[in-house]
């Protein structure tokens, strides 16, 4: 602790404020004003009462032989006065606080909506594009509306820096809105007692500078996406060269599939210099268009390409949607190895879902200690006894079922613990696949004790 800090100053907050924490929203300013208003009124009355009391104690202390001075036992005028004054004071306080409350309560119509889910003991935030995160990211330059619901019991969303609090009640939506005035990271707490992990149900809100939020959301939500991102490019120059002048059927296919802008961009490039960011972005966008299209597989086109086992396995499944995109990316990667990665790291994505989006970590540890649910350490491939006597091997199917229908097959000894909610509709197949990949990874399977 800094040695020049003394007394009260040691107790003050980093920004020098003593009572209220950092004020980072438009409503915080309102509330702080009401707070100071009431604070000074209270301080005045408190000082008055204590002063009078102490003054009387000293002035009228009992001394031998002194009699009480005569005084009437009541006085209607004075009673009316000290009934009326508190009445006026509290009426004013009510009015001031009510006005601020109305501003707090009624959201502007153009607010940007983010869905919030409270569950034991985790906050999840669902962004308009469907991405779910365990931290609340918001743009700093517009009003935000949080529409909140609970998966289990009552929680309460509390953002001290914004002076906001609202319970999250099962069976109904509750809403709060705010407009941040400062960029940065602020604490979020659960303020309604919700059991064992109540005090761990904390997270942060990140207020982004203009543009930052959109960038973050794009980045974050592409975590599992099989489309190509800039950072997936391992050799942009080689890729561009291949597209510009490659003679193999795949390169020709790409060249013919380019949009006009893509053709123009490639032609403008000199063919030897390191591609600049604009060209890289163009390449990514062109390739992604191809990836998102129909299957690029054609036996003739891929005749000279060694198709990896992984690619073949996926092709067997006649994939659709994102898996179809993934298949195209595998095929392209097979044809042009070393130019870009084969796809998102499913283990890493799984870890992200385990820790954040799915919130698995709040009940399932990785260290072998049972929490509310069984630990994930070494669970994959092991056989477990179930409630009801059955025995089962923890394989992909079992994990998938446990995520979608958690109560279907409960491991022995976990029936009475806190009950896992279903993730059906909350995690995509691909995300469940990522979790399975994560559980199969060396870190989680452990080194077989």
């Amino acid at each position: 602790m800094a040695n020049d800090m003394t007394g009260i100053s040691m107790l003050a907050q980093s920004d020098g404020r003593f009572w209220m924490p950092d004020a980072a929203s438009t409503s915080a300013a309102e509330v702080d004003w009401v707070f100071s208003f009431i604070f000074w009124i209270s301080a005045f009355f408190f000082a008055l009462i204590v002063f009078l009391m102490l003054f009387f104690v000293i002035r009228y202390r009992w001394r031998k032989g002194q009699e009480t001075k005569a005084m009437p036992n009541s006085n209607l005028t004075i009673e009316i006065i000290w009934t009326a004054i508190p009445f006026l004071v509290v009426a004013t306080i009510f009015w001031v606080a009510f006005r601020a409350y109305m501003k707090l309560t009624v959201p502007p119509s153009n607010a940007y909506e983010i869905q919030v889910v409270g569950q034991k003991w985790k906050w999840l935030f669902e962004y308009p594009n469907g991405w779910v995160d365990d931290r609340l990211h918001v743009p700093g330059d517009r009003a935000i509306l949080l529409t909140m619901r609970s998966e289990d019991i009552i929680h309460s969303m509390f953002i001290p820096a914004f002076r906001l609090k609202m319970d999250v009640v099962p069976g109904r939506y509750s809403k709060i809105w705010f407009k941040a005035t400062k960029n940065g990271t602020f604490d979020i707490y659960c303020a309604e007692y919700c059991g064992t992990g109540h005090s761990d149900m904390t997270t942060q809100i990140v207020v982004h500078a203009p543009g930052g939020y959109e960038r973050w959301l794009r980045e974050a939500s592409s975590l599992l996406s099989p489309t190509l991102r800039i950072q997936d490019l391992t050799d942009a120059a080689a890729l561009a060269r291949k597209i510009k002048s490659g003679t193999d059927p795949v390169s020709e296919f790409i060249r013919t599939s380019l949009t006009d802008a893509g053709t123009a961009g490639i032609n403008a490039w000199n063919g030897s210099s390191e591609p600049n960011d604009a060209l890289k972005a163009l390449l990514i966008s062109e390739i992604n268009t191809i990836l998102k299209g129909a299957s690029i597989y054609d036996p003739e086109r891929f005749a000279s390409v060694t198709v990896a086992a992984e690619t073949a396995a996926l092709m067997e499944k006649n994939p659709e949607g994102e898996d179809q995109v993934q298949l195209n990316r595998f095929l392209l990667s097979d044809a042009m190895p070393d130019f870009f990665t084969r796809g998102p790291d499913m283990v890493e994505a799984g870890r992200y879902i385990y820790e954040r989006k799915g919130g698995c970590a709040s009940c399932h540890t990785l260290d072998g200690n049972a929490n509310v649910g069984p630990s994930f350490l070494g669970i994959y491939g092991r056989s477990r006894d179930l409630e009801g006597g059955e025995t089962i091997t923890v394989d992909e199917n079992y994990i998938r079922q446990s995520i979608i229908e958690p109560q279907a097959k409960v491991v022995l000894g976990y029936k009475d613990r806190s009950v896992m909610p279903t993730y059906k509709g909350r995690l995509s197949d691909r995300e469940i696949g990522a979790i399975i990949s994560f559980m199969k990874s060396a870190e989680v399977t452990g080194n077989e004790k």
Partner: protein
């Protein structure tokens, strides 16, 4: 416990001055106690009011499963018992202990009749699966047939195919896509094509709890009456000593009052 002074009225406890003071204290005490009874039921009426206001369709639909005739007979029985109880007070005031005994006996009989009919009703509800909350599993439309795969083994033991309300263990199967605060009861189309509202179980929760608590009060009232009966048999009551009968009667009338409201609110909805 108290040592009576020589000229102290034997009907008056040591800490009272006069018989009137004692009588009025007793009466006042009883009334204050009745206040607590009214507020106790008040909570239940609040429950009723809120759910009826929010889900009127449930009440209209479900109340037809109550038997109006039995409810009506019970109302009449209770009114008659109130009369006999009021008469018992009159008899006690006049010192006619024999009449007190007879009147209380009739009242007791009425109470037994009330509970007997209630038992018939309850039995019918139990058999039909019209039980409260998550135990609700109506059987009167068994043929409507639900997907057997949805039934969990625990509740299947009691009832094969609950068509309206899947038991709670189903929730995980349906949860996020279900019907909201109205719960998971997917008001399915009945065979006849009639729409069953969501959360019919709520009505039966209210029905069971309200009539159940009322029934408990009837039982307690019967206990009081047996005690009064024994005292009347000993000829204890007279113009100076009828407070016990009076208070017992007040209690019984409150039981009647509650039923006077319960009957139209539960039985006479559609």
């Amino acid at each position: 416990m108290s040592d009576h002074e020589p000229d102290h009225n034997p009907h008056v406890a040591h800490h009272y001055e006069t018989e009137k003071q004692q009588f009025e204290s007793g009466k006042l005490g009883m009334w204050v106690f009745l206040v607590t009874e009214i507020l106790l039921f008040g909570g239940l009426f609040c429950w009723y009011a809120i759910y009826r206001a929010n889900h009127p369709e449930v009440f209209i639909y479900a109340s037809r499963y109550l038997d109006k005739v039995l409810g009506g007979i019970n109302t009449i029985i209770l009114i008659c018992s109130s009369l006999t109880m009021a008469w018992a007070v009159r008899a006690a005031q006049m010192g006619n202990n024999k009449l007190v005994v007879r009147m209380i006996l009739v009242t007791l009989l009425c109470a037994c009749g009330f509970l007997g009919i209630k038992a018939v009703e309850y039995n019918h509800k139990l058999n039909a699966g019209l039980t409260p909350g998550r135990h609700y599993a109506p059987r009167h439309e068994e043929q409507a047939g639900a997907d057997p795969a949805v039934v969990d083994p625990a509740s299947a033991a009691g009832d094969a195919n609950p068509p309206v309300a899947p038991p709670d263990d189903d929730k995980s199967l349906i949860a996020p896509a279900a019907r909201g605060p109205e719960g998971l009861n997917l008001g399915e189309e009945k065979a006849q094509g009639e729409q069953v509202p969501d959360n019919v179980a709520l009505f039966f929760s209210i029905y069971w709890v309200m009539t159940g608590l009322h029934g408990l009060h009837v039982l307690a009232g019967m206990g009081v009456m047996i005690w009064l009966l024994l005292r009347a048999k000993r000829g204890e009551f007279g113009p100076h000593n009828f407070l016990a009968v009076d208070c017992g009667a007040l209690y019984w009338h409150v039981v009647d009052l509650v039923w006077i409201f319960l009957f139209p609110l539960l039985y006479l909805i559609d």
